[in-house]
Amino acid sequence: MNRYWKLVNFELYRFLKLYVSLIALTIILQFTGVVVKSLSYVHQANSDIYEHGMSRAQFIEQNGLANFMQIAGSLWFLAPIMISATVILGYIFLIWYRDWFAKNRFIYRLLMLPTSRLTIYFAKASAILLMVLGLIALEIIILPFQLSLFQLLVPADLRQDIPITAVLGFQVLAIIIPGTWMQFVLHYLAGFMLVCVLFTAILFERCYRWKGLFLAVLYCAASVMVFIAPAILAAIRIIDFYPNELVSLEIVLGLVVMGAAVWISQFLLKNKITV
């Protein structure tokens, strides 16, 4: 079996405990959110209608129908997503630094594996991507159950049923689970590019220490500049693009940035890395 796959598996396995906690946190908080938000709406409806003698129509006119977006837009729902995003962003750094600074110096072993050092780089990057996609998959799996729970708790005449694609079509959800397949691929390609750029920045720091930190900042700034140059040019009206031109250009530039990241990393890992 290929060493690359084994390394990806190994990196995932090392993150497993934290990963399972993130999954548990997401499930607990989001389902709690569904219950709390639904019940508080129903509770208010009950108290207004049965205790204060409001009619159903009056109540709906005042408060609006309950819909799942109110839950999906609440902190109950978004906090676990933000926490997961933060943890994974942090782990992009930790996945390298733990090999240098944990109680063991596993980086010795990794760099002495009889495999191209770029394999280690790609294994770590792939592991990060898979961790993110796994959490997205989790969200997609639990969403129908959350919708059912919501429908169970709120009576049909007090709620507005919204299709799942619409629930996912707003706020941060539209970025992490975009509406069409192609957008999904592009979003996560861009995400992978970001991971590669950060990895390369980390390697700069690891190779040149303090000087490297400075180089890393310069390098990141350069990568960002290259990537957003067309958007800036368009914004200050130097060049006008049709949307399709802009997207094609961004895809090309994204690949250029990613290619540069990999090429630089390959150079650093081969010639400059120090344990």
């Binding site: 060493r3 084994k6 110096r105 980086i107 760099l111 495999t115 400059k272 120090t274 344990v275």
Partner: protein, 229 residues
């Protein structure tokens, strides 16, 4: 043969290695001797391409190191380099997964010899046992060259004897071994070649047999001459 040719290395302003050259042959035990901080470990790391050098060249069997070379040469550092959550068994499985030349039979033999318990977690090991695990993991690879960094430092006398016994035994018979140390009492009778380092410079490179036969001196005698003129 490991050939180190004129390697120099700076850390910031500090010159750690200055034009260091020596060779280490297969089937011989070469000892890099010097007090702490003279660049012994750096030299070994440089051979393994774990740290860049500013100038000079290193060849292993006439080739510059690349990925397949790691099936041919191994480095046994003086600290643990396996994830601490692993058990000794899992560490072996890891090695087996990634190295074609892993020799499970030898790993089992060494574990028995060192009285290591394969279900122990690496994090719970004493310093002596950590060194033994390191040695076991490194020596269970069927490699031509073994680099050992301070295999005896901070280890109790009984463990030292065990380790010295392994070093002499058939386990490393026809391999090339490079050992760094600052005390040679335990292994003086084993070594074939000595490279004396000080302040990043090779002061003297000699074979033990040569000095014994021609000058009638022991390694300790030569060291005294060189370090305390």
């Amino acid at each position: 043969m490991i050939e180190v040719q004129n390697i120099s290395k700076r850390f910031g302003r500090k010159q750690v290695l200055k034009e260091v050259s020596f060779t280490a042959n297969k089937g011989e035990i070469t000892c890099l001797i010097g007090i702490n901080g003279v660049g012994k470990t750096t030299t070994l790391k440089a051979i393994m391409n774990l740290t860049p050098i500013n100038s000079g060249k290193i060849f292993i069997d006439q080739e510059v190191i690349q990925k397949d070379t790691y099936e041919k040469i191994t480095f046994i550092p003086d600290a643990n380099i396996m994830p601490t959550w692993m058990t000794i068994r899992e560490a072996c499985d890891f090695m087996k997964d990634y190295y074609k030349n892993w020799n499970q039979q030898r790993a089992d033999d060494l574990m028995r010899f060192f009285k290591l318990n394969e279900t122990d977690r690496i994090t719970e090991l004493s310093k002596g046992n950590t060194a033994k695990v390191n040695l076991m993991l490194g020596l269970s690879l069927d490699v031509d060259y073994v680099l050992m960094d301070e295999p005896f430092s901070g280890i109790d006398i009984f463990s030292r004897e065990q380790i010295a016994e392994v070093v002499t035994s058939h386990l490393i018979e026809d391999r090339g071994v490079v050992i760094t140390t600052h005390e040679i009492n335990d292994i003086e009778h084993l070594i074939d070649k000595v490279v004396l380092l000080d302040n990043g410079v090779v002061l003297k490179e000699f074979t033990t047999e040569e000095v014994r036969l021609t000058e009638g001196k022991s390694v300790m005698d030569v060291m005294r001459e060189v370090y305390q003129p």
